[in-house]
């Protein structure tokens, strides 16, 4: 098992390096001179040239990339053009809030989505099934930012139960978590239902019923275990969507995370911060997919990891 994890980890390295190439190349596509962008139109040509040399922009691109990568492995992502702070410090200040939101939403989506899927599958074609599937279809069609605003309107403005935005207490976490999880709940519910329905029609499940096992044992212990494999894949893939949704959710609820950092940096044309934030988002997604692959080996005994 340990060897398997190590091998998967080694395979993730080229992907991560590729991600750095993509991000580096993308940021270099920005039209205009970065040094001029930083200093503004009033700066003299000498000042701009000095900054160009200082930032290494006078070097060929491969050299620039090698330097960028060299600094990156030392945890140096440059400095924010706006605040002058190291980008890593800015990210470190914002990352916990995003991780908190993403983890809470993944937990909610997994529990609620699987529960809804099991309920729906065990009552196929009943009104409960139709209701759950209709709500799930709505869930995958809802714009996450609109859902957030509507929840805010209902629970913060009208009912005054929960704060409309901000960060700190568990109450602040409720609305952003529901908003961000909605899409994933719907996807996981749909996947659990179809996967479980397929398994429920298999012979070994009929055998379990024939043995006289109760519904709980048949569905939860025998069927669900095998139905879980595609569900785990979907939960991992959802995480990417969740990160994208987090950018919007954070904006709606004034949540001080990476998403708002990124959007603010884009608006301010603070490219070192944009570059750093995009890198961290992509790295997070890659690592979660890696974790899912490892989790697979636990869920599916057919996968050999010797």
């Amino acid at each position: 098992m340990g060897a398997y994890i190590l091998r998967r980890l080694a395979l993730a390295v080229p992907t991560l390096v590729g991600v750095t190439v993509v991000v580096f190349a993308l940021i270099r596509l920005v039209p205009g001179d970065p040094a001029r962008l930083v200093l503004g139109l009033q700066a003299s040509e000498e000042e701009v040239q000095r900054l160009r040399v200082q930032l290494g922009l006078d070097q060929p691109l491969p050299v620039q990339y090698a330097r960028f990568l060299g600094r990156l492995v030392q945890g140096d992502l440059g400095r924010s053009v706006v605040t002058g702070e190291p980008v890593t410090r800015e990210i470190a200040a914002r990352l916990p809030a995003t991780v908190q939101l993403a983890v809470a939403s993944t937990l909610l989506a997994t529990v609620a989505g699987m529960a809804a899927g099991v309920i729906s599958a065990t009552r196929q074609y009943s009104w409960v099934d139709y209701l759950v599937m209709t709500v799930a279809l709505f869930g995958i069609s809802l714009p996450v930012f609109w859902l957030g605003l509507m929840l805010m309107l209902l629970f913060s403005v009208h009912l005054r139960w929960l704060p409309a935005g901000g960060y700190g207490t568990p109450a602040h976490l409720v609305l952003p978590t529901i908003t961000l999880a909605a899409f994933s709940v719907a996807i996981i519910a749909r996947m659990t239902r179809s996967s479980l329905l397929e398994v429920l029609h298999q012979d070994y499940v009929r055998t379990a019923w024939a043995k006289g096992l109760g519904a709980r044992a048949v569905v939860l212990r025998h069927a669900l275990k095998n139905a879980l494999i595609p569900v785990v894949t979907v939960i991992g893939l959802q995480f990417g969507g969740l990160l994208g949704g987090a950018i919007l959710t954070e904006t709606v609820f004034a949540w001080p995370g990476m998403g708002r950092l990124l959007v603010g940096a884009i608006v301010a044309r603070d490219y070192p911060v944009v570059q750093g934030a995009v890198l961290v988002f992509a790295a997070l997604f890659t690592l979660v997919n890696l974790a899912v692959d490892v989790l697979y080996a636990y869920v599916d005994p057919r996968i050999h990891y010797g």
Partner: protein, 297 residues
Amino acid sequence: MWTRASTTVSWAGAREAARTPPTVWRRLRRHRTAVAGLAVLATLLFVAAAAPLLFPEDPTEPRFERVLRPPSWEHPLGTDNLGRDLLARIAYGGRVSFVIGVLAVSFSALVGVPVGLLSGYYGGKFDLVVQRLVDLLLAFPGFLLALTLVAVLGVGVTNVVVAVGLASAPVYVRLVRGVALSVRQQTFVEAARALGASDRRILFRHVLPNCTAPVIVQSTLQLGTAILTAAGLGFLGLGVKPPTPEWGTMLGEGQTYLFSSWYMATFPGLAIFLTVLAFNLLGDGLRDALDPRMKLP
């Protein structure tokens, strides 16, 4: 908007059905939810197309004598912070959203389908390089990729189309490559080759037609995703520039007035929701209608 992997189409068996469009249409008509989706889309498209006739006044012109009016007979959805009729702006905004959606999806199909076709049909080194590239792009959450592209390219309709289109091109590469890979090994391709057909002829006459059904289904679902992504960019203020009415941008403007004037954010969002829902209903219906193994009532 961030659904690339989750809405990938399973297309198995869709080929035979694709050759006989009347059958598909008949099957689709019996699919109740697909018909509902089609009806909603037709209505929205009609309102968007006929907007200049239905709402003759300029949807970008401020009217300060009537700002932030709640819904009434005169303004069924109210007016915004600059006194513009929200119903009119949503109708005109539909034109922008639909055009962005169609262009972005066409763009990703035009990039993704040929690449996937060649990658799957020829295989070898080209395939290997393309697949690694696709892996890399899929390492970025879809919305993040579109957002980064807009950050680099700048805002505006064209850049939003390019950003949203490029971000979902890998989905088409994957989809079409899969079809090409399986078709390549079929007996009829072998027969064509034995008869002396060129690669070009096999690609256009045999492989490409087999991709039509899955590409149509994927594009329908992708239209919803594209509109959602573009609206998300607009909401962040990184999409279409005001005063052009676009649903996401309008929603972003409405957020400021959420506590005093709920209608400003509510109705543009409802329009996005209905559109995406309709595309999802139609896409699911098309998938069922194109799959001959699927029994329909």
